[in-house]
C-alpha cells in the first residue's frame, strides 16, 4: 500500500549526498616537461625512442592523408581497414603464434580487461598475482569470477594455492611478462609447469616486455626460449616500447581468438583504433631490429649503478624501467624534487620512483653521465 502522506514526507526529507564529495585540497597542477639541452626526460615511456622517430611520423602523415583520422565505426561495421588486417597478421607472425590472427583494441586498459572478461565467467577460478596491475584488476572485477591471489612472482605459492582451490571448475592463470608495479621479470618456465600440472589456462600480459626482452624483442617467451603454443592468450598494450596507443590480443589457437571477436565487449561496442596509430605499430615492429640487445646493456648498467649508489632497486636488471623505493614517501618526494631541479625528470607514483629508460641515452654519453651524476648527488644528500 502506498501511503501518499508518508511518501510526501519522505520526499521532503530526502537529502541526497552531493554528486561528488567536496575536495578539501584543490587539485594540483598537472606537470609537463619539455626536453632540451639541460633537461633530461625519463618520464615518457619511450624505451626504443620510437616517439622521436621521423620515419614513423612520416608514415603516420601519409596514412592520415589517405584514411583520415578516425575510423567512424566499430570494427564489425566497416571500421576494419586493410591496415588493421595487416597489423593483425604481422603481430601474430612476430610473436610466432600459429593462428595468424589477432584483435586490436583502441585502448590499452580495455584490451587487457575486456579480453579477460570475455573468457572468465562467474563459476570460474582465476589465479592472479597479488601485485597485478590496474588493468588486470578491472578485468577481474568485471568477470565476477573467484579470484585467488598468490605471492608476487612466486610459483611455489601458486602451487600451494592451486592444490587447495577450484578442483572442478575452469581455472585461469594471469601473469605479466614484466610486472607494471614492481618491474620484476616473470618466472615463466616455472609458472608454465604449475599451470600445466593443474590444467590452468594461461593469459600472459606482455605490455612492457614486447620489444624489450628476447633477442628479437618478441617478449618474455623468447627470453626463456619457450614454445609459444604453451600459452593460451597473449595480451598487451601498444603503450610500451612500440610507442602507440591501444592494445591487442593474440594466441596460438585460431578459433579461440576468433571467438573473442564476438564476445569481447571492448572490441564489439567501441570504435576501432584510428588508422595512423595502427601504422605507427606496424612501422615500429619493422624497426625493432637489434635494438633490444643494445637496450639490455643500458638497462643492466643503470641497474648496477643505482645499486652502487645505495638505492633500493626493486626492478630486475633486464627491466626497461627502474623502480626505486626509499624508506618513506616523503623521502621519495624529496629525491624526486631534487633531481627535477637539477634537470632530470622522472615519475613519482604510488609504487615509488620510476625511471623510464630511453635507448637514445646510449648514443649520448654526456647526457647519460649527467643522469648518473645527479642520481649520485641525490643519494649522497638523502641516503
Amino acid at each position: 500500500m502506498f501511503d501518499t502522506a508518508l511518501f510526501e514526507e519522505r520526499l521532503k526529507n530526502f537529502t541526497p549526498e552531493p554528486l561528488v564529495p567536496v575536495e578539501a585540497t584543490p587539485p594540483s597542477e598537472t606537470q609537463t616537461v619539455q626536453e632540451d639541452a639541460t633537461t633530461i626526460d625519463l618520464t615518457k615511456v619511450n624505451y626504443l625512442n620510437f616517439l622521436n622517430n621521423d620515419e614513423i611520423k612520416k608514415a603516420c602523415e601519409d596514412v592520415i592523408r589517405e584514411y583520415g583520422v578516425g575510423t567512424c565505426g566499430p570494427p564489425v561495421f566497416y571500421g576494419t581497414t586493410d591496415l588493421h588486417l595487416k597489423l593483425e597478421q604481422s603481430l601474430s607472425e612476430f610473436l610466432q603464434m600459429g593462428s595468424n590472427t589477432a584483435l586490436t583494441y583502441s585502448y590499452g586498459l580495455v584490451a587487457i580487461s575486456s579480453s579477460i572478461a570475455a573468457f572468465c565467467k562467474e563459476e570460474d577460478f582465476i589465479f592472479a598475482d597479488e601485485r597485478a596491475n590496474a588493468a588486470i584488476e578491472q578485468g577481474l572485477i568485471t568477470s565476477r569470477s573467484t579470484v585467488v591471489r598468490f605471492g608476487h612472482n612466486d610459483p611455489n605459492d601458486l602451487r600451494k594455492k592451486a592444490a587447495k582451490n577450484g578442483n572442478k571448475s575452469k581455472k585461469y592463470l594471469i601473469v605479466e611478462g614484466i610486472s607494471w608495479t614492481t618491474g620484476k621479470v616473470c618466472r615463466l618456465p616455472e609458472f608454465l609447469e604449475v599451470a600445466e600440472e593443474f590444467h590452468m589456462r594461461i593469459f600472459l600480459d606482455e605490455s612492457h616486455s614486447l620489444g624489450v626482452l628476447g633477442a628479437n624483442g618478441r617478449g618474455v617467451i623468447e627470453h626463456y626460449n619457450l614454445d609459444p603454443n604453451r600459452v593460451d592468450m597473449v595480451i598487451a598494450t601498444f603503450e610500451g616500447a612500440v610507442g602507440s596507443v591501444g592494445g591487442f590480443a593474440t594466441g596460438p589457437d585460431y578459433t579461440t581468438i576468433e571467438r573473442l571477436r564476438l564476445s569481447s565487449k571492448g572490441f564489439l561496442f567501441s570504435a576501432s583504433l584510428p588508422s595512423f596509430l595502427v601504422k605507427a605499430v606496424l612501422k615500429g615492429i619493422e624497426l625493432i631490429g637489434d635494438k633490444p640487445k643494445r637496450f639490455a646493456k643500458l638497462a643492466q648498467s643503470v641497474h648496477e649503478f643505482l645499486q652502487e649508489c645505495g638505492f633500493d632497486v626493486v626492478s630486475d636488471p633486464e627491466a626497461p624501467f627502474k623502480l626505486i623505493r626509499c624508506e618513506s614517501v616523503d623521502l621519495e618526494g624529496q629525491v624526486h624534487h631534487y633531481c627535477r631541479n637539477k634537470g632530470v625528470y622522472f615519475i613519482h607514483n604510488e609504487s615509488g620512483l620510476v625511471l623510464n629508460l630511453n635507448i637514445k641515452l646510449l648514443e649520448e654519453p654526456e647526457r647519460l653521465q649527467r643522469v648518473f651524476d645527479v642520481l649520485k648527488e641525490a643519494s649522497n644528500v638523502f641516503l
Partner: protein, 598 residues
C-alpha cells in the same frame, strides 16, 4: 489473410513537450472521444488516462497530442498552431517555445511475427542437422587434452552453424577514408563462411553505414592538416598518463573548447568513448546508491553501472511515466534489505539516459526528465554519443535541440567518434565534478592520454562548428544533415517500409524482422554498391532484425536518390513493405524542406 490492426496502433504520435513544472499540473481523469482543433484557451493541463500502445490520447497543454494531421500544418497558411516543428501560442499568456516529438513504432502484422519465429526454428534445425552431418572444420586445440573447453556448447554451436552462414555481412574491410563513399575490399567465401579469400579487387560504395554525421571524416582540409601538424609538434602519442607528464597544450585547449561549446564550466577528455563510460561511472557511485537506467542503454553504460555494486532499476524505453513510478516507489521504500525492515533513504539517485539511441533512432524526452529529476531530487547522466554535433540548431546536441539549459544536467557525456571524425570521449559539468574526476578517475590515473593528432582534429572541428574559423561551414553542415534526414525519412515512409524512431534522428532503422532477410538485403545492397549495416539478435530483440542507415551531411541529393531507388527495388524483391499506414503521396522536394528557421 488480412489481420486488422488495433485501433490507433502504428499511428505517428505527435506530442508537444515543454520544460514544464509538473508540480502545478492538476491531474484529472477524463476520457474524451472527439476533439476539435486546438483552441486558444489554456486549461491548466489535465492528463487523460487512456493509454493504448504506450502513448496517451487526450488533450493537455503539456504533452498535447494532436487528434488529426490537420493540426500539423506545414503549409504556408498557418491554420494550426504548429510551424516548422515549433508551437506558436495563440493566447494571451506567452508560452515558452515547445518542441514537437514525432515518433513511430509500427508493430508488425501477426503473419510477419509468426513467420519470423518459424524462420528461427528452421535455422536452428538446419544447424543441428549440419553439425551432425558435417563436423566443424577447425583444428583441435594443441596441448590442451584434458582441459575443459573454453566456450559452452550452445554458443559454440550458434557461432559455428548459424552465425557462420551469414557472417560475410559483417567485418567487411575497407581501404579508404569512411566518408560519403567508401572503398570495400572484396572477399569471397568458397566454403560457406568458414574462411574468406580476398579477390584483390575493390568496390566503391555509397557509405550509409559509418557514423559520419557531419561529414568530417576527410583526408584533406583544415582538420586533417591540423592533425598532421600536431604529429610533428607533439609526437604520435605523448607517452604517459594525464596525471604523469602525459598532458600537452592540446589537451588543455580541447577541454576548454569543449566546455565552451557545451555551455558548461569545465570538461575532461579521454582517449576512448567506451572507456569514458565504463571507467568513470564507478567513481561516482557506491553501494547504497540507486541507478535508474533506460532499457536500451549502450553496453558501455551497463558495464559502468554494474561495476560499483549500486542498486540498478530499469525503466521501459523512453517511458517517462514508468520512470516516475519507479522513482516514487523507490524513494518510498528506501534502501532494500535493511535489518527489521527499517527505512533508510538512498545516498543518491542517478538517472542514466542517452540522447539518441543508436539501434532505435529514438530521442530522449529531455524536458520531461529534467522536470522529474528536479521534483525527486535525482541526478541526471546524459550520454550524447550519437547526438552531439548531429542534433540541435548549432550542433550542440539534444540540449540544444530542446532548448534546455545545459547547466540543469548534472553530467554531460559524449564521444568524439561520430560527428567529429576522430576518437575519444568527454565528460562535462561543474568545476567540482571535473576536478574530482581529474584526480580520482581510473582512466585519468592509469590510461594513456589522447593522441595529439586525434585531439587536434577535434579542436579543428569544434572551431568550425562554433564559427571561429570565420566561415559558416559548420552551420551549413548542420543544416544539410537535418535536411537529408527529413528528406530520406519522408521518402522511405512513402514507400511503405516500416522505420522506427523519431523524425529528426539521423539514425534510420529499417525493419526487416527475419534473420535471413537481413543477410539478403545487405548482400544485395553491396552488389548495388551501397554499404549498409544489418543488425540482429543479440544487439536487438530476437524478432526485430533491422538494417540501420546512418545519414551524413556529406551525402548529396543524388546519392540519396540512388540509395532510395535501390532500397525500393530491394523492398519489392524481398517483400519489405510491411507498413499498413495510409501513405501520403505528396511529392517531397529537397530544396523546399525548411529546417531550423524561425
Amino acid at each position: 489473410m488480412e489481420t486488422r490492426m488495433e485501433e490507433g496502433a502504428g499511428d505517428t504520435v505527435t506530442e508537444l513537450l515543454n520544460g514544464v513544472d509538473f508540480e502545478n499540473n492538476t491531474h484529472q481523469k477524463g476520457i474524451s472521444n472527439g476533439y476539435g482543433p486546438y483552441s486558444g484557451t489554456l486549461t491548466n493541463g489535465y492528463t487523460c488516462i487512456n493509454k493504448k500502445n504506450g502513448y496517451t490520447r487526450g488533450r493537455r497543454q503539456n504533452g498535447h497530442v494532436l487528434a488529426s494531421s490537420d493540426e500539423e500544418c506545414t503549409s504556408k497558411t498557418m491554420k494550426g498552431p504548429i510551424k516548422n516543428g515549433y508551437v506558436k501560442a495563440a493566447s494571451e499568456e506567452p508560452l515558452p517555445k515547445t518542441r514537437i516529438i514525432k515518433e513511430s513504432f509500427e508493430p508488425p502484422t501477426l503473419l510477419t511475427a509468426a513467420l519470423t519465429h518459424i524462420s528461427f526454428y528452421i535455422l536452428m534445425f538446419l544447424g543441428y542437422l549440419s553439425q551432425a552431418l558435417f563436423p566443424p572444420k577447425v583444428a583441435k586445440e594443441k596441448n590442451r587434452d584434458g582441459y575443459s573447453p573454453l566456450f559452452d556448447k550452445f554458443s559454440s554451436f550458434y557461432s559455428m552453424y548459424v552465425y557462420r552462414r551469414i557472417r560475410d555481412c559483417w567485418n567487411y574491410p575497407i581501404c579508404s577514408v569512411p566518408g560519403n563513399e567508401v572503398v570495400l575490399k572484396d572477399r569471397v567465401t568458397r566454403d560457406n563462411g568458414w574462411t574468406f579469400e580476398f579477390t584483390g579487387s575493390k568496390t566503391k560504395c555509397i557509405n550509409l553505414a559509418s557514423y559520419n554525421y557531419l561529414g568530417f571524416a576527410e583526408k584533406s582540409g583544415p582538420c586533417a592538416e591540423a592533425a598532421i601538424d600536431s604529429i610533428y609538434k607533439y609526437g604520435v602519442t605523448t607517452g604517459g598518463t594525464r596525471q604523469q607528464y602525459g598532458t600537452c597544450d592540446l589537451h588543455v585547449e580541447l577541454e576548454k573548447l569543449t566546455a565552451e561549446f557545451l555551455g558548461v564550466e569545465d570538461a575532461i577528455t579521454f582517449g576512448m568513448g567506451f572507456a569514458t563510460n565504463a571507467l568513470n561511472i564507478p567513481t561516482l557511485l557506491s553501494p547504497g546508491c540507486l541507478v535508474i537506467s533506460d532499457e536500451k542503454n549502450h553496453a558501455s553504460l551497463i558495464l559502468g553501472i554494474r561495476l560499483p555494486g549500486a542498486t540498478v532499476k530499469v525503466f521501459k524505453h523512453n517511458d517517462v511515466q514508468h520512470l516516475e513510478e519507479i522513482l516514487r516507489e523507490n524513494i518510498y521504500k528506501g534502501q532494500p534489505n535493511q535489518p527489521k525492515g527499517a527505512y533508510k533513504p538512498w545516498k543518491k539517485i542517478l538517472i542514466v539516459v542517452e540522447g539518441v539511441y543508436s539501434m532505435e533512432g529514438t530521442i530522449v524526452r529531455l524536458p520531461e526528465i529534467i522536470a522529474l529529476k528536479k521534483k525527486y531530487k535525482a541526478y541526471l547522466y546524459l550520454d550524447e554519443a550519437h547526438s552531439i554535433g548531429a542534433m540541435g540548431k548549432h550542433g550542440r546536441g539534444i540540449v540544444d535541440y530542446f532548448g534546455c539549459d545545459p547547466k540543469e544536467i548534472d553530467i554531460l557525456m559524449g564521444t568524439f567518434t561520430k560527428s567529429f571524425g576522430s576518437a575519444g570521449g568527454y565528460i562535462a559539468g561543474t568545476k567540482e565534478l571535473i576536478s574530482f574526476l581529474r584526480k580520482n578517475s581510473f582512466a585519468s590515473k592509469h590510461a594513456w592520454a589522447m593522441a595529439p593528432p586525434v585531439a587536434a582534429q577535434i579542436i579543428a572541428v569544434l572551431k568550425i562548428l562554433m564559427g571561429k574559423d570565420g566561415t559558416n561551414e559548420g552551420q551549413k553542415r548542420i543544416e544539410t544533415l537535418a535536411r537529408n534526414t527529413r528528406y530520406f525519412r519522408k521518402k522511405i515512409e512513402q514507400m511503405g517500409i516500416i522505420i522506427h524512431g523519431n523524425d529528426d534522428s539521423p539514425v534510420v532503422p529499417i525493419l526487416v524482422y527475419l534473420y535471413s532477410k537481413i543477410a539478403a538485403m545487405v548482400r544485395i545492397l553491396i552488389q548495388e554498391k551501397i554499404a549498409t549495416v544489418g543488425v540482429g539478435y543479440p544487439a536487438t530483440p530476437l524478432m526485430e532484425g533491422r538494417i540501420r542507415i546512418c545519414l551524413s551531411a556529406a551525402h548529396t541529393k543524388e546519392q540519396l536518390d540512388y540509395a532510395l531507388q535501390v532500397i525500393e527495388k530491394v523492398a519489392n524483391e524481398l517483400g519489405l513493405k510491411y507498413s499498413r499506414k495510409p501513405i501520403n503521396s505528396e511529392p517531397i522536394e529537397y530544396d523546399k524542406i525548411k529546417v531550423y528557421e524561425d
